[in-house]
């Protein structure tokens, strides 16, 4: 599903590379936590998977494709097979919940009939059935994140990338979101989640990948957040 071969990434105007010789493989259906302090390279790692950045050295394979060899115009097509969720939800405040999910389907050219069928379905799945007409501003943070997850999952991606999805939520709400992500994972979708949330990582007992100063320092199946943090 995802394979990093000796991947390094340096940004111009920065002395220290953001990622250094990272190699790892994530298989189909896995649930992986990506941990590490701020500046450890988590975001760069995710940006490389999304092909928002290209690796400086090494190879990144996502969904069986070498991203270095993927031409620019094929990138959108690759991204349709990924879902993304962020800490700040990234919803459109002037569109309803239903429209927000529909928007993601519209811009990849889905037919109206398909959209009308899919939107209530995924909203049901994330536990927001019947709230299509609400505005994001009227919802709680947890509910907004559920909308974002519904949007990410609407196209039934093979891979879900989550960048601190619980970063803005209280512990109780976070548990709900994690249950949802776990459910999505059980449908066969690979989930890669960057997080600072020790409690969640310790509770879930999934594979944990830790980055430190751009290096991969730990890769543990059924791991915990870490000892020194």
């Amino acid at each position: 599903m995802i394979r990093f071969d000796n991947v390094s990434k340096s940004y111009p105007k920065q002395n220290r590379p953001a990622l250094r010789e990272v190699s790892l493989e994530i298989g189909r259906g896995e649930f992986v936590f990506l941990v590490g302090s701020s500046g450890s390279g988590k975001s760069t790692f995710l940006r490389l998977i999304l092909r928002e950045e290209r690796a400086s050295h090494g190879q990144v394979h996502v969904l069986g494709k070498d991203l270095a060899r993927l031409s620019n115009w094929k990138v959108p097509h690759m991204r349709r097979q990924l879902g993304t969720v962020f800490q700040d939800f990234r919803l459109l405040a002037n569109k309803t919940v239903g429209e927000n999910v529909a928007f993601a389907l519209e811009v990849i050219g889905k037919s109206r009939g398909q959209i009308r069928k899919t939107v209530p379905e995924v909203l049901d799945l994330v536990g927001l059935g019947g709230k299509d007409d609400r505005m994001p501003g009227e919802l709680s943070g947890g509910e907004q994140q559920r909308v974002a997850i519904a949007r990410a999952f609407a196209n039934r991606p093979m891979l879900l990338i989550a960048d601190e999805p619980t970063g803005n939520l209280d512990p109780q709400t976070s548990v709900g979101i994690m249950k949802l992500l776990d459910r999505i994972n059980r449908t066969g979708t690979t989930v890669v989640m960057a997080t600072h949330d020790q409690q969640i990582v310790d509770q879930m007992r999934k594979r944990v990948v830790e980055l430190e100063m751009g290096r991969l320092v730990r890769d543990q199946s059924r791991g915990v957040y870490g000892y020194q943090h």
Binding site: H77, M78, I108, R151, N155
Partner: protein, 303 residues
């Protein structure tokens, strides 16, 4: 691509940047109206030049039988074949002459009809009223006086005319106006381009959230950029529409209703010349903003 979705995006974008859109429309309209105006002015000049203007510098009009009574130079009646032959031989002997054309009365009539085909003057003359003439091309156009002294007052010659002295001043004026119009147009065009670039940039910035999400869910760059490009193209189209209205209005009020009544002798451009310019203006009005938007987006809308 869902047309309705794109259209609603464009509507939102145009309304959000109403003042900028208005500025784009006005500057596109003015620059294109000036461009069209200067094209039409050039057309006007070539309409007025007639058949011989670019080929010769001096015309030697020969006496027609009708001139005998009206013109003292032709008191002895129409030019004879002998006189014509002498004039031709003398012309050929002169160093300054490069080439001599002979225009018969019939040729003259033909050229006249051609030049004034849109004008009521076209039907006012008959072939036998036309003058026979020698049209002379000089090696050095300024040596016109040599011919003047050699042929004016000669038997059978009605008049030696420096072709250019008649129209040169008017053409200089028109050319000057044309150059001025083109300079203003170039300036307006730069203003229009900068405004378009800025409008698109602001538009892209104010919708960066939407475009960011579009990027994430895998919308193609075509889909992301199309609303912006169409927005610019629509503003340009409206501007081009105004430019067309200005040109048509100019032709109608300035030429048809004013100049044509004041100056009967000049053959003004017809509607066909105006109609020919309009599609060009609309094409430029749509394409220029679209292309400008496209290149702006490459910089400000990372895909």
């Amino acid at each position: 691509m869902r047309a309705q979705f794109v259209l609603s995006e464009i509507g939102v974008g145009l309304r959000r940047n109403l003042t900028m859109t208005f500025a784009v429309i006005v500057s596109v309209a003015l620059s294109l109206a000036l461009a069209g105006g200067s094209l039409l002015a050039r057309e006007q000049v070539s309409t007025m030049k007639g058949y011989w203007y670019d080929k010769v510098q001096v015309s030697i009009y020969l006496c027609n039988k009708n001139d005998a009574s009206s013109d003292p130079n032709c008191a002895k009646g129409a030019v004879t074949a002998q006189q014509k032959k002498e004039i031709k031989t003398d012309l050929d002997k002169l160093d300054v002459v490069e080439r001599v054309y002979h225009e018969s009365a019939d040729d003259a009539y033909k050229h006249y009809k051609e030049q004034f085909k849109d004008s009521p003057l076209a039907d006012s003359l008959t072939p036998d009223q036309m003058q026979e003439s020698y049209r002379v091309k000089l090696k050095d156009p300024t040596k016109y006086r040599v011919l003047q002294t050699a042929f004016s007052g000669r038997q059978g010659v009605q008049e030696v005319q420096d072709q250019r002295s008649l129209l040169e001043n008017l053409f200089n004026l028109l050319n000057g106006m044309n150059i001025a119009a083109l300079c203003v147009m170039a300036l307006m065009l730069v203003v229009a381009l900068l405004l378009i670039v800025n409008t698109v940039r602001v538009s892209a910035f104010s919708r960066r959230r939407e475009t960011g999400i579009m990027r994430l869910v895998g919308a193609s760059s075509f889909y992301i950029q199309m609303p912006f490009i169409l927005e610019a193209a629509i503003a340009g189209l409206i501007g081009a529409g105004f430019a067309c209205v200005l040109l048509i209005g100019g032709k109608y009020f300035l030429i048809n209703n004013w100049l044509q009544e004041k100056i009967v002798l000049i053959n003004f451009i017809g509607w066909d010349a105006v109609v020919k310019v309009l599609p060009l203006i609309i094409a430029v009005g749509v394409l220029m903003p679209a292309v400008a938007a496209f290149f702006t987006l490459r910089k400000y809308l990372k895909v």
